[in-house]
Symmetry: C2
């Protein structure tokens, strides 16, 4: 038997030099194995013709994994000079994330294979030198420069798999058998698939930053969920089981496909699984380097859209609620099966990590408790689009590993395939692909009435909303205290001294993304936040419901940074239950919004179409003795408030008439000015270097009893 | 003889109660006299029909001077409550500044004369109470509340005169003779006008804030000028002298009129002076309450446009360079005549201050040295549009007394008329009217080859330019040091330590309004400031030439504040001679701009259409060893720089590529980075409360030798 392909190293321990040797071995084995994969290609053209239109030709991937080491090492400070700027510019950016309707027309003047091989030699020498010479301590943490070494190796292992898929998609003329890449010969008829009862349980996903294995950004953080009982197919869906769908006309029956699926079908003219080759009246199966008679008891390989269509068909045929599992349900399977990750010094108990040949194998070969192939053989599509766990943060030298996939268009695959190695083979890993992409991936269906609810994945990129979220929940700048918190502090203090002393209900009018609402709820039993903008309110709702909010901020030009803000980190976790958010128009509030002990209107009046109407109306919404807290920079603009609706900021009867004059005139019949005017500063970040810095004039008005 | 109409009180002295009594007397005499003027009107309709379309009817002016007391007293804190808000809103704003093509169509529901008279009684009682009860000390200064009392009285004296003009323009049916308003009966043929030599001399205008007489804002500050020798007409131009112009067809001859004059002529259908009444083949003269046979030896009354046309005609006829005097030349006449202001306890030696009846008098009645009527009789139009003296500031409770007239459309009148009293009669006063307006005003011509150069009057109101002027020369905000000064300090310091040690020539590229250019000129012998915007450069040029710059800034809504900045107050007076400003394109500079020891480019590169072209070109403009100082917040925007021209702020080959990366790439062949990056903050004021607060990244590059 061949030696085991090395596993991801543990990153803790006592012996730095032993770890150095292990890293060197891990690197060399990976770099070697990657190059051996390309040995299945025949001739230069095999490298430069694209196997599929959506991705680069293989020459790119041959160079890319080497360039990746160079790029990340520069960012990590491990090296200072590039090895070959021209090649590195060419090999830097892949096109893995392309849509089928977003073809890449760029032309490249690709270098020769020999040139790239020579380049790889130089990179290999450089990486070995770095591993040998860099001083480090254990454990290797995610901020350490040596993390970039692991990142480069694990990155190459990903491309080991994805390149093997591309090779499998290449014309047969371009490939040849290779002793290091021999497919399994074991095949036969598939077992009848049956359902296994999976009891309800709790799953706990996400790992700590000090976990002693390398991980990608999306694996860190916390996610816990209760999973209802469900039934799961004992086996992955085999080619044989899938044949019934094909023969029943599943590919032609649009009613089985969602819109996205129909769109892909049209583009791809798909009539059967992509690796099935029509052969007279039967089928052959395309493997990496050969076409073979159909392996009916091997798992079928599909994209997510085909898997979903199969589930719909299966539901119709069986009358059962059949669908793909969620990521959480897959973890219940893993826990139910009592599995653990591939051992370091023994073959995997699954078709995983290249331990059992270079292809799939029968779906009944590896039993995992009552189930088979919970891990290994082929990846398993989940119904769950990838999303960040609570506490997600991007890695500083690879901020676009996952974030571009937080778009509800990339679904998670779990379990790993026969060629999933290193981090890929670990059950904590979370890879995701566009739903129309092919990997060595198939699926297992589940039967359950529990609907799928997908966690929100998107980083808020709406520029104004993100700006406000940062304004409310983000970092202090120029030493200016958080504005909504400062206002709430002033409001609560004033209410104690000057108000009606009832802390029942407060209103945060013009609440935007809601920070002051949460802050007021530290003192008030109930806080209503109202804003004209439904999308601003959604941020508050999301915080109240999930406790966190994610958004990107512009740094410089197109560069952005990623931010997560959490109520618990602001000491506001327990306020969420006392806050409610409503969409509403401050100039035309619903009648129900009344009986408040305090009303805060921050940076609101100069954004209203009729501030006068709001100010005339507000008194009857306050309980007698209640406080109205106004804060505004009085930035009157025609775009928000027609000139004739301004309440100040102009000459009136020849004299300067300030907004404060206008407030006094309008409010005095029903209010007494009890505090202010006083200036409260705020800062709004526009880019990493550019900010708005404004003084809001605060006045506190007590409703006459 | 009647008692003298009281003169403007001196505002210093030792005896507060005596001053209080004098103020009370000054107020009562003014208020009485104003009311007595309206006694010449016959019937209610005389009050409500407009004498001329460009101004309110007289009922407005009857109430207006009273309301003015109320408004200014409120602003000064002398009173808290209005007397009659409805009337006061109606009487607040006059239309004195209207253009003939800008008619007022507002309709007013004017109150009855009795109602206004009653209102005036209440205001009179209030003002007397304020004068009696307000505690004050001597001298009364311009920031003291009691200043508002003087302001109200002097304001009413202005309207005493302007209302007398309106009455003179009213239909004869609406007026009647009045014993207190009797015109002079003295008249005859005018003397032949001759020229008097006025030797060259220096005039010094403007007074100090502690001058012991009340003054309007425009009288304060400093203006000094050398006046070349000139000849002046001995007499004001009489109706008789003007008749030659009329009879020569001067009104019909467009070649004698400028564009403005022709426009006014068309509107007014003017064929002779406005107070001349055609009478068969001769002329009568309209006085305030009567038409009388033409007074040929009284001064003609014209607007400025007619006076200019006369001078053009007179030039043509005489072959001499005839024109109106400038304000400075008028002061030479005053000094040459050895005059002083109207004495407190004796009649004026001029037809001034109502001391010699209620009309003009012959132009040879009051000799002033070799001249006649240097002051008094009628106001004298000057060629000079009104403008602020150096050090001009608006009065806090009357910021629009003069500023709206700084528009080069209002010309100064000097000398006072028979009804110019109080401040109006003082030679330091500076009234100005639109050139087409009528007052009791005529003119004296001068003969001189010296061209008229008018001081710049306008407050810069271009919002962006004013914002930059304040950014460069204005107040520090949030404790952030002045940005261009800070950059210049850093540049000079770096140049001493790291540069070529030559302080010959520096370039301030993207100099905007030029502050850094002046600051660099503290150390460099020659500084060239270049900006793409010609209007920005004009600000620098103006500062270099005149030492000062004036602009308005938005405060709140439409309210603005007025600002003057001076090189001398910034310690930069002596740098002006070492600075020159050019319009230029940093991406395409003229060849002559070379041989610099230091180049500063502050907040420039992210505003260029091709920053790369600029950066590639800049080295050969620097002497070897010279420094290039870059500062920028790297705020890349498509509106300034097309995306493909950005030098950073995007992903390049998959990795974040900052502007600093781009700078290093472009500059490294010719430069060495010797200092920075370091953040230099700046604040730009948008309104009184709203600011941009930005960090500019500064780097210093030394040109390789």
């Amino acid at each position: 038997m061949n030696p085991l392909f090395p596993r991801s190293p543990q990153l803790d321990g006592q012996d730095v030099e032993a770890k150095r040797a292990e890293l060197l071995d891990y690197f060399r084995a990976t770099f070697d194995r990657y190059e051996s994969l390309f040995e299945v290609l025949v001739g230069e053209t095999a490298y430069t013709i694209k196997p599929i239109s959506l991705r680069h030709p293989l020459i790119f991937y041959f160079g890319h994994t080497a360039t990746f080491f160079v790029n990340k090492f520069i960012l990590a400070g491990l090296i200072e000079e590039r090895i070959d700027p021209r090649l590195e510019s060419m090999f830097a950016v892949g096109v893995d994330e392309m849509s089928w309707d977003d073809l890449d027309d760029a032309r490249y003047d690709w270098p020769s294979v020999a040139e790239v091989a020579d380049y790889r030699r130089k990179v290999r020498a450089m990486v070995e030198r770095v591993i040998r010479d860099t001083r480090f301590t254990l454990p290797i943490g995610w901020s350490d420069p040596m993390w970039a070494v692991l990142m480069g190796i694990e990155h190459e292992r990903i491309h080991l798999e994805t390149s093997s898929v591309l090779i499998r998609q290449h014309a047969l003329d371009f490939v040849r058998p290779h002793p290091a890449w021999q497919a399994s010969a074991e095949h036969g008829m598939a077992p009848e698939n049956t359902l296994v009862d999976i009891p309800a349980g709790t799953v706990s996903l996400g790992r700590a930053l000090d976990d002693p294995y390398y991980g990608w950004d999306n694996e860190y953080g916390r996610h816990k969920a209760d999973v209802a009982a469900f039934k799961a197919a004992r086996h992955l869906v085999s080619n044989q089981e899938f044949r019934a769908f094909v023969e029943a006309g599943g590919y032609a029956d649009d009613s089985l496909w969602d819109e996205e699926g129909k769109g892909w079908k049209r583009f791809a003219r798909a009539e059967h699984p992509t690796f099935w080759i029509p052969d007279g009246k039967g089928w052959k199966l395309r493997l990496m380097t050969a076409e073979v008679p159909m392996r009916w008891n091997w798992p079928v390989e599909t994209n997510c859209l085909e898997a979903r269509a199969f589930c719909r068909w299966k539901s119709r045929e069986s009358g059962l609620p059949v669908r793909l599992p969620t990521e959480d349900e897959w973890h219940r399977l893993y826990d139910h099966a009592g599995l653990s990750d591939v051992p370091h010094n023994a073959p995997a108990g699954a078709n995983l990590h290249l331990d059992h040949g270079a292809s799939s194998c029968p779906v009944d070969r590896f039993a995992h408790g009552e189930l088979f192939d919970v891990v290994g053989n082929v990846w398993q599509w989940c119904e769950t689009p990838t999303y960040p766990f609570d506490g997600f943060a991007v890695h500083p030298i690879y901020d676009d590993f996952t974030t571009p996939t937080f778009d509800d268009r990339h679904n998670i695959i779990k379990g790993g395939s026969w060629i999933a190695t290193g981090n890929e083979s670990r059950h904590a890993s979370r890879y995701a692909f566009r739903r129309h992409f092919f990997q060595h991936a198939g699926f297992r269906y589940v039967v359950t009435d529990t609907p799928v609810t997908n966690p929100a994945s998107a980083y808020e990129t709406d520029a104004l909303l993100s700006q406000y979220a940062e304004f409310h929940y983000g970092d202090e700048i120029f030493g200016v205290p958080n504005f909504p918190k400062a206002l709430a502090d002033i409001a609560i203090d004033a209410h104690k001294r000057l108000g009606n002393r009832s802390f029942e209900r407060a209103l945060d009018l013009g609440c935007a993304t809601g920070r002051a609402s949460f802050e007021l709820a530290r003192a008030f039993k109930r806080v209503v936040g109202i804003d004209f903008s439904a999308r601003f309110i959604q941020a508050g709702v999301k915080l109240a419901e999930s406790g966190s909010l994610r958004y990107t901020l512009p740094d410089e030009g197109e560069l952005v940074s990623y931010h997560e803000r959490r109520l618990d980190e602001l000491g506001l976790a327990d306020t969420a239950g006392r806050v409610e958010f409503w969409q509403g128009d401050a100039c035309n509030l619903k009648d129900i919004h009344t009986g408040f002990d305090l009303i805060l209107a921050a940076n609101l009046i100069d954004r209203l179409y009729s501030p006068r109407r709001f100010l005339r109306d507000v008194a009857h919404r306050l309980n007698p003795g209640g406080l109205l807290i106004l804060a505004s920079p009085y930035t009157w603009l025609e775009e928000h408030t027609r000139r004739e609706e301004w309440i100040g900021g102009f000459k009136k009867d020849g004299e300067s008439w300030t907004t404060l004059d206008g407030l006094k005139e309008i409010l005095t019949p029903q209010f007494e000015l009890v505090q202010g005017p006083q200036a409260v500063p705020f800062v709004i970040r526009e880019t990493r270097r550019k900010h708005q810095h404004t003084l809001s004039e605060l006045t506190i008005w007590k409703r006459r009893s």
